[in-house]
Amino acid sequence: MAIYIQSISQISIQEPLCDNWFESPIYHRQRYVSSIEPNYKQYINPMSSRRMGRILKRAVTTSLNVLQGRKGNEIDAIITATGLGCIENTEKFLYSMLENNETLLTPTYFIQSTHNTISSQIALELKCNNYNSTYVHRGISFESALFDAFLQFKLNKITNALVGAHDEMTKDMFTLYDKIGYWKKGDICVETLRKSETLGSFSGEVAVSSFLSNEKNEDSICSLAGMNILHKPTKEKLEETLKRLLEENNLTLSDIDAVLVGHSGDKENDEVYSKTKENLFNDIPFVWYKHLFGESFSMSGLGFYVGATCLKKNIIPKHLVFDSPKEILNPKHILIYNHFQNSEHSFILLSKC
């Protein structure tokens, strides 16, 4: 049972709804970077969009963009990942509640604040009555959402799925995470992020929607060949899981063209990748993306998008290759390896189809 990525779309701190970042990435210097917003009017009517915060507009737009006219009930599952949910509306309701001592509160901010608002808004726009769920587990939110779809494909419960990752960052939430060491001090530059000598990264935002199907056609970008997620694995467990994943696809490590990792510039985060490179990956080139897209809980959704895009274009450009200034031509298999605070670890195998 194969699973194919049919289409995938993003709005982020790179140019939205296109692959221009692939040739001409923007290198941000600020610690706090908000998404570049497209014109939403062509996707969302004003009576719907009046209630939507930015995160919802991005989610609906990338979803519509990726579905290319498919009707609601033709989609078997809509599964969404978000680390912080609709934090802008959460803050608005919270502030209002605290400032007005629980009086004269209005409902809109509350109802648009729950984490599942994103997934259900998409279903509402599409009028899709099928499976719908939302995963909120920090750095493994996207993998959890993808895994849910993956399992249902394996069990023949679904033939296609819309899987997305959506996260926003407000100024206040940025300030709070700054207090607990999430962000670098001072300006950002790629070399500082690459060297990871200090704690922290820089803040980006995520909106990725991907349409997956069990049927291959001329639109198919690549296949989701396998995946797994582990909680606090030992070194041996990690190795064993990777080996099994490769064996299931009749592959060995030498078939992997690149490992796409969540190297972010944060010393503690990146040490785990260095160690795993020594233990597991040896000479396989590392590829990274957070230097372009920033850090956010569901940022691995953009990693997924980057991996798929490289396979689509048959090249990994040199600005993505971590340990050498050379591009990688005609990649066939990209392994996405992500971890969150060395507690949750995931593998996603993408293969040319």
Binding site: L98, T106, P107, T114, H115
Partner: protein, 398 residues
């Protein structure tokens, strides 16, 4: 065989700590809905179902002195989970692949709202900053017990815990884990108490699900977890199954962010597809533990959907939110545990406070505890904001 067995359960709500206290309260028709005592809010006259344990009490019961602070959501979850893991004979050395999936929406908001302004004024409460999100409770609960191979958090409002059950079952069926510990936890917070208040769906008295004069819901807090296990694993470990999870479904109403469609399309599909998944027919279901919040909209919508699926002679229906209040993200597992207790002890829990039937849909719930020998199959519904609708069917093992 591909059966998904339930081999253990744990629960903590306003009805009490543990299955025994919960069962006694249900049979004796003792509701937990009463005065709001712990939460510091101007809306303290609103009836709620609070867990009658302070955070300090819970830490004491756990015999735990953590280095870092824990949220109330986490503590509720720990106590409920402890009961389940002890019954299942699972500890951190159990040589099986075990998943832990927890549903929550409030997460650490109850601490967040207390300290929020302080976060920006000084550093004294910084250790609470990372606890605000949904994952914090799942992570802290998992770290406390140890031994899990996969953990994650679901947030689909009032169907979160039901969806945790569904993911757990799928993980086992697909062969990724042997055991899935699934459910949800939620504590009361000013944030969602006020949120529901702005929607004008809170009853100023004890809720009356399915009653013509119902005025809304009462919020509750609590946690419940179920241990799901494949047959082989249960046999190898020598644990007796309680019942099996025979079917489930997740659908979306896709009508409105907070209101359910009048004909209950999402609810209808959820129940219908759960039946299809189980291979059972509508006539096989002996009891429906309804979502039954007591709101004008839900109860009409759900009742319509029940008639559409089950016809003019539906099975017994009751909403035990008249006992526990609406435990929101935990409701799916709280009510599954209650339903399974009913299944094993052969009774239908009462739908308290019902007096007058609705006029728009002809559905009269069970108004008192009813002894029903030979209950075989029970369905439980959880319908959340955003139209996230899920249904699970539990069956006796014959």
């Amino acid at each position: 065989m591909n059966d998904i067995l339930v081999t253990a359960m744990g629960i903590l709500t306003g009805l009490g700590l543990g299955k025994d206290e919960t069962l006694q309260s249900l049979i004796n028709q003792n509701s937990a809905i009463g005065e709001l005592k712990h939460l510091n809010t101007i809306h303290s006259s609103l009836p709620v179902s609070e867990v009658r344990l302070s955070d300090k009490d819970m830490l004491s019961l756990l015999n735990y002195n953590p280095q870092n602070p824990l949220t109330r959501t986490t503590l509720l979850g720990m106590l409920a989970l402890r009961e389940a893991l002890e019954q299942a004979k699972i500890d951190k050395d159990t040589p099986k692949r075990i998943a832990f999936i927890s549903g929550t929406t409030v997460g650490g908001m109850e601490k967040n709202e207390e300290f929020y302004l302080e976060f920006f004024q000084n550093n004294s409460k910084d250790e609470y900053i990372s606890l605000h999100d949904c994952a914090a409770s799942t992570q802290d609960i998992a770290d406390y017990f140890g031994g899990f191979d996969f953990i994650t958090t679901i947030s689909t409002a009032c169907s979160s815990a039901a969806n945790a059950i569904i993911l757990g079952a799928n993980l086992i069926k697909a062969g990724y884990v042997d055991i899935a510990v699934v459910g949800g936890t939620e504590c009361l917070s000013k944030f969602h108490l006020n949120g529901f208040n702005t929607l004008m769906i809170l009853d100023k008295e004890a809720c009356k699900p399915f009653d013509k004069n119902r005025q809304g819901l009462n919020l509750g807090e609590g946690a419940a977890y179920i241990v799901l296990e494949g047959m082989e694993s249960a046999k190898e470990r020598g644990v007796e199954p309680i019942c099996k999870l025979s079917g489930y479904a997740n659908t979306c109403d896709a009508f409105h962010q907070t209101a359910s469609s009048p004909d209950g399309q999402g609810a209808f599909l959820s129940m219908k597809r759960a039946l299809e998944d189980s291979g059972l027919s509508a006539e096989d279901i002996d009891y429906i533990n309804a979502h039954g919040t007591g709101t004008d909209n839900n109860d009409s919508s759900e009742a319509s959907a029940i008639k559409r699926v089950f016809g003019e002679n539906p099975p017994y229906v009751s909403s035990t939110k008249s006992f526990t209040g609406h435990t929101t993200s935990a409701a799916g597992s709280v009510e599954s545990v209650i339903s399974i207790l009913a299944l094993k002890n052969n009774f239908i829990p009462a739908n308290l406070n019902f007096k007058t039937p609705m006029e728009d849909v002809d559905l009269v719930p069970a108004q008192r505890t009813i002894q029903l020998p030979n209950i075989k199959h029970i369905m439980t519904n959880s319908f959340g904001f955003g139209g996230n609708d899920s249904s699970c069917i539990f069956s006796k093992i014959i």
